[in-house]
């Protein structure tokens, strides 16, 4: 055979069955905030909220745990979403001028491959309609949909267009009722001559149905004209001859008033009184932030209580606050200008829809921003914000790393929750979450799971990852360990600490801004960025390491404490000459004692020199040791005795690049400036209302794409083996603490392993006082020297292929990974086999190899790169439990490669088990962000703000499970009970829907 293959696994049916019971790949749920949201809708009957995105996704949220996802076939921006209230149906309008109908569908119970699958409720696209004339044809912009209105009867859909026409579609078929079309000419005819003045009325900007009289709609044209149109008689009841360019309209509950908002930053109240056809003047007209020119009020809501509440976005004075993203709430003398950090996409109020009630009585305001969701409690005086139970803005500062902790004890969990509560600001209320549709049927989580995310601003956020909704628990900031330019504690006039001051400031300032939301992409100092996190859940010790070579050891404390943090500087160059660090300076430690809030409080600060970014960290809390590495070397520190145990330089003499510093201060400042400009530019572009796509732009786009394709072709790759003096070869990639046999086969003891970018592995034998190792026993008695930890180099291994060492793991006599610190000594897991020979798994980017100990001779290996051409990016040893046999489980090595696929290997045989495609290979940040849990799940970033959660295990799945009560077919109540099968791709005809079930 010319085709040479490695030995095929014999397909043993027994083994295949076991594999099926162990492994199954599924993307289960998306955590976080949808990337680039573009539309918002609310179903007041079902209490469900829908968010559409620029990539064509629709996500529905109800009570925490109730989630549905749908994806349009074309990745086109969703411009509007409309619910058919109570029916579990919604309509979406895309940027390509198509309308799509979606339904929550319950599948009947069916048998698939002998396995009975329960009925699945999913969001499905059931119909689509293309408005006449698609974009790309110049003339068609006239029929481009601008606004939609679904009549309360849910049988007619009115579509306002760019050309000023209003079309009526019949539901549910979405068929055009030709005779109902209202073209602009028809309206113009009935206008007085002086108003007509030969100009077009402009696009339809707003369509609103009369709150009391069915079949009457208010049509607002861009030029300012508002028409009250009777659909049944096809006759204009009244004409409101507004002169100011119109942005939006809203009815007052009674239907006696409506409010229009305008381009000049003003709004007008119009009375609808029977009898006179022409209304020339509004009842009142205000420019709230005048008299200087203001920006447009893009949307206004008028809600009634004992006195009306007005809510509107925009309208800020152009010169002074034109760049702010604001939403104003006004009631009587109360006036708050909510000041957001990202653009307002849309907002709605949760209010009383019952016709019998006199007032709207809004209870909450829900604002969808470009980067987060903000909910304001309108019932509590002062209008505080409500913490969101889902849609957490993971990226409030850019995520730099993450870490997952399984099976957290209830005690630690409660302490974290309390620490989190203590930090919550006064401006939060704990009123019930207003969007509470559906019911989560998911069983309470079997165990508490923590996801820790490190951020660019030096914070570590703790998330409850036990269920479908990822909720914030606690936020740790490391910035106060250092003395930074904008030190909040050094500033005596911090408004946060002084409520009176804040009050005062608010009163003085006009407009009365209030900062709301937590999205803050601007980092004070990029050196604060978190690179590595390690948490010991048994001892509550946390190690956090950052961009400027800082390694902080923290302990959990329930009380506030003011103390000075011990600082220790570790020189990793070890007097190597000829190197000058050109990167950033180390962070300046705070010299005064600092107040630390309840939660994790710093004990020791280690600073690596040169202050290069920390690339690997390991914590062994039982031995009180922390190991840390950079691009220059690694160190070992005993944080109990505050004693540096070891520092080792890993630099290759020829490596000059390591000295430059991957992040020099000048460079990073430039970079961050450039990025912020880009961000601003981007938000400006995206802020444009309805970009009209013309033929020319389409052609240009196509040409550009073609040109790009042609340019891409001549790519060549150099074929050369890695050489010893490749740059950054000294980067320390991984550590491993293990109690194993390094020096001989009879005495085991603490060891530390470190792997580098150039395929070097250093193994140290450690002497830890109080830890029973063969050696200390031999010596008998604690001599003076054994009072501190010692490290002796035991082995130095150079892998021939020089590929970066991704992971090192020591296996016990049975080939199982050694338990975590404390697990063995406190009988928290099965004791490791210390009688048979241990082995060590060294995973490099190219190969997986198991070596016997203490001789370090190869036992098994798998050369992944030589066979598949892919490189290992992430590895994890995972315990897979059988979905069928209660007590059967297997340790498996999971490998994520640069191709985005998961390879699973048995341990310690390293035989390939299964392979799953997981992440697109182009999605480099997704692959880089992937973390695995110990039970076969994982997370990776699908956008800066969203984690995709996936499961490789046939047993452990966390997925939405929920039911929704639908009112379909006029009051007929159908209960959709769902079990959950997540993320199925359903292809119906040519409609392709990826649905996430509930």
């Amino acid at each position: 055979m010319m085709k040479f293959r490695f030995r095929r696994q014999s397909t043993d049916p027994q083994r295949e069955k076991i594999k099926q019971e162990l492994f199954a790949f599924k993307k289960t749920v998306e955590h976080g905030f949808p990337h680039q949201p573009s539309a918002l809708a609310f179903d007041p009957k079902l209490q469900l909220m829908a968010i559409g995105t620029k990539s064509g996704a629709i996500k529905i949220y109800g009570a925490p745990g109730v989630e549905f996802t749908g994806l349009h076939k074309d990745a086109t921006a969703v411009t509007q979403i409309l619910f058919l209230p109570g029916r579990g149906c919604l309509l979406s309008v895309l940027d390509d001028n198509t309308i799509h109908r979606w339904e929550l569908v319950a599948e009947s119970t069916r048998e698939v491959g002998g396995v009975k699958k329960e009925g699945v409720v999913s969001l499905r696209e059931v119909d689509s309609y293309s408005l006449p004339g698609r974009p790309g044809i110049e003339s068609s912009s006239a029929t481009r949909a601008t606004v939609l209105l679904l009549l309360k009867s849910c049988d007619l859909l009115c579509v306002g267009t760019e050309g000023g026409g209003v079309y009526v579609l019949e539901l549910p078929r979405l068929s055009l009722k030709e005779n109902q079309t209202l073209l602009q000419d028809h309206v113009t005819q009935s206008l007085p001559d002086d108003y007509r003045c030969g100009k077009s009325l402009g696009p339809v900007e707003s369509l609103q149905e009369h709150p009391q009289q069915a079949g009457k709609i208010l049509i607002g044209y861009s030029r300012g004209l508002v028409v009250l149109w009777d659909l049944s008689s096809r006759h204009a009841d009244q004409l409101f001859l507004g002169k100011q360019q119109l942005e939006s309209l809203v009815w007052e509950r009674s239907g006696n008033l409506f409010v229009s908002s305008h381009n000049d930053g003003g709004y007008s109240v119009w009375a609808v009184t029977n009898g006179n056809i022409y209304n020339h003047q509004p009842v009142s007209s205000t420019i709230p932030y005048g008299p200087f020119p203001c920006k447009a009020i893009t949307k206004i809501l008028w809600r009634t209580t004992h006195s009306p509440v007005i809510l509107y976005s925009g309208g800020m004075p152009r010169a002074s606050y034109g760049d702010r993203h604001c939403l104003t709430i006004q009631q009587d003398k109360e006036h708050v200008t909510l000041d957001f950090t990202s653009r307002v996409i849309d907002f709605f109020t949760v209010h009383n829809m019952d016709n019998d009630k006199e007032f709207d009585d809004p209870s909450a305001l829900v604002v969808l921003l470009e980067e987060e969701l903000v909910v304001i409690d309108l019932l509590t005086p002062g209008w505080p914000s409500l913490p969101t139970p889902y849609l957490a803005p993971l990226h409030s500062s850019a995520i730099t790393c993450s870490c997952h902790v399984t099976n957290v004890s209830t005690k630690l969990w409660e302490r974290l929750i309390n620490a989190g509560k203590a930090q919550q600001s006064r401006r939060h209320t704990h009123r019930k979450w207003p969007i509470c549709g559906g019911k989560s049927l998911a069983p309470p989580p079997r165990q508490q799971e923590l996801l820790l995310t490190g951020h660019e601003d030096g914070t570590v956020r703790f998330w409850d990852a036990s269920g479908v909704a990822l909720t914030p628990l606690y936020k740790l900031s490391t910035a106060n360990v250092f003395h930074t330019d904008c030190d909040p504690i050094d500033d005596p006039h911090d408004p946060c600490d002084d409520p009176d001051m804040q009050q005062q400031e608010e009163e003085e300032e006009w407009p009365p801004f209030r900062k709301v939301g937590c999205f803050d992409p601007y980092s004070d100092d990029p050196r604060l960025g978190i690179q590595k996190i390690s948490l010991c859940k048994y001892s509550n010790k946390l190690v956090v390491a950052g961009t400027a070579g800082q390694v902080i050891v923290l302990g959990l404390n329930d009380e506030r404490s003011d103390h000075l943090v011990d600082v220790s500087v570790m020189d990793l160059l070890q007097d190597r000459e000829g190197f000058t660090w050109k990167g950033h300076d180390r962070l300046e430690p705070r010299l005064k004692p600092a107040p630390f809030l309840p939660g994790f409080q710093p004990l020791v600060l280690l600073q690596c020199l040169p202050p290069a970014s920390v690339t690997a960290v390991a914590l062994h809390a039982e031995w009180n040791l922390v190991a840390f590495g950079t691009s220059h070397g690694f160190g070992l520190f005993d944080y109990h005795r505050r004693n540096a145990v070891l520092a080792r330089c890993t630099l290759h003499p020829n490596d000059s690049l390591a000295m430059e510093g991957p992040l020099s201060r000048v460079k990073s400042l430039k970079k961050s400036l450039r990025q912020s400009f880009r961000r601003i530019r981007k938000s400006r572009v995206s802020g444009k209302k309805r970009a009209v796509i013309t033929t020319t732009s389409k052609v240009q786009e196509a040409n550009a794409a073609l040109a790009e394709q042609e340019e891409v072709a001549p790519v060549q790759r150099r074929i050369e083996p890695r050489s010893a003096d490749d740059s950054l070869s000294g980067v320390v990639r991984c550590f491993c603490f293990a109690d194993t046999f390094l020096r001989d086969g009879t005495h085991h003891g603490p060891t530390l392993w470190a792997g580098t970018n150039s395929g070097s592995v250093y193994a140290y034998a450690l002497e830890v006082p109080g830890v029973d190792s063969g050696r200390t026993c031999e010596r008998g008695g604690a001599s003076e020297s054994s009072m501190c930890v010692e490290a002796v180099l035991g082995k130095e291994i150079q892998l021939m292929h020089r590929a970066p060492v991704v992971s090192i793991c020591v296996l016990d006599g049975r080939g199982k990974p050694l338990p975590d610190p404390y697990e063995a000594s406190q009988d928290l897991s099965i004791a490791p086999d210390m009688t048979n020979a241990h082995s060590v798994l060294i995973a490099s980017e190219e190969q997986l190899k198991v070596f016997s100990l203490p001789k370090v001779s190869a036992k098994t290996k798998f050369k992944l790169t030589a066979h598949e051409g892919c490189r290992v990016r992430k590895v994890a040893l995972v315990l897979f439990s059988s979905a069928v046999q209660e007590d059967y489980s297997e340790h498996t090595l999971v490998c994520l490669t640069n191709m985005g696929d998961m390879h699973l290997f048995n341990m310690p045989g390293l035989r390939p088990q299964v392979r799953f495609d997981c992440i697109r290979k182009e999605d480099i940040s997704g692959i880089a962000s992937c973390v695995f849990t110990k039970n076969g799940q994982g997370f990776y970033l699908i956008s800066p703000s969203e984690y995709e959660r996936f499961s490789l295990s046939a047993k452990v799945l966390i997925k939405p499970q929920c039911s929704v009560q639908l009112l379909r077919h006029l009051g007929h109540i159908k209960i959709l009970d769902s079990s959950l099968q997540a993320s199925t791709l359903v292809v119906m005809g040519d409609v392709n829907v990826a649905s996430k079930s509930l």
Binding site: M2, R717, I719, I797, Q798, A866, E868
Partner: protein, 339 residues
Amino acid sequence: GPHHSRTPQDRTAGVCVKARHVGLKPQTQPSHKLTGNARFWEGLEIINTIVLSCFSSEDDSSVFATNSLQRRKKGLALTGLNPGATHPRGKSGPLIGPPQNFRQISSIIDVDILPEAYRRVRLHKHGTNKPLGFYIRDGVSMRVTAQGVEKAPGVFISRVVRGGLAESTGLLAVNDEILEVNGIDVAGKSLDQVTAMMVANSHNLIVTVKPANQRNNVNRASKTSMGNTGSVGSAGSIGSALSHDSPSPASHSNPITARSKGDLQLLLFDSLNPYSRDGARNGATAAAAGRPFPQSVSMPNSMGVSLSNSASYSQDRNYNHAGSSGRERMREDGTMITL
């Protein structure tokens, strides 16, 4: 051109034959003088001196018609047994031309089982500071199928660096299509994957190419005169089974009869470092170079083909084999281990 003459050594059981149809042409004409000074050889940068010695041996029919890619262990096992490995260390005599003075840099392997249009080349990177020296690119490959000519994405050599190993062999050229890397088909693999595979195997890289220039192929059909015919069938069937891609009619009608026992190898030597310098570390070189050459035939253009039985040729050991607990090249030096 210069002549390399040496005496056949008695220890070889092989039958020496003379290759008559060697289509390979040297890249440059060698211009060195043959002097009796070993030092001369050490300092001189002569790349294209290639020894021609053709022989085959009758032993070890067990390896017949097996793919040399799958014979790694066999080669390993024989490393120590090779009588040629007794070449005394450091004793590089003043003689010019003995193969001991040449380090093998490449070889054409599996000539007997590959379609004639293909060439399987092994590049010996070990111990040299010379770069492999080539680049690859994406391209379009024309395949002859039952449905006619089809276009398929392929990977091609885009550049050969001057002075690099690839150039010095003369066996790889720009626009040669890469079909396999160390026995693994690259069809369906991206350029980056193929790059990674090649780099991962760079210490012992075996590439199967379809040369852009098909005129220099080893023409087996015309070598029917030598060797026995015992294994025609199997060799032929393999040849045809493999010739899905523009099969050569010759390989069907005239199955390989030449050197039917043992496959053909074309060994190319580089004269940069005498064997003695390479030391015991380089087992492959030691074995190959140390093996006595029964006969050498000088070619006018001073380039050579060594057709040898691969059983006596020691394979480089570090070949990847899935799950194999293969022997590691291991050097222990105090605590320092190289694996």
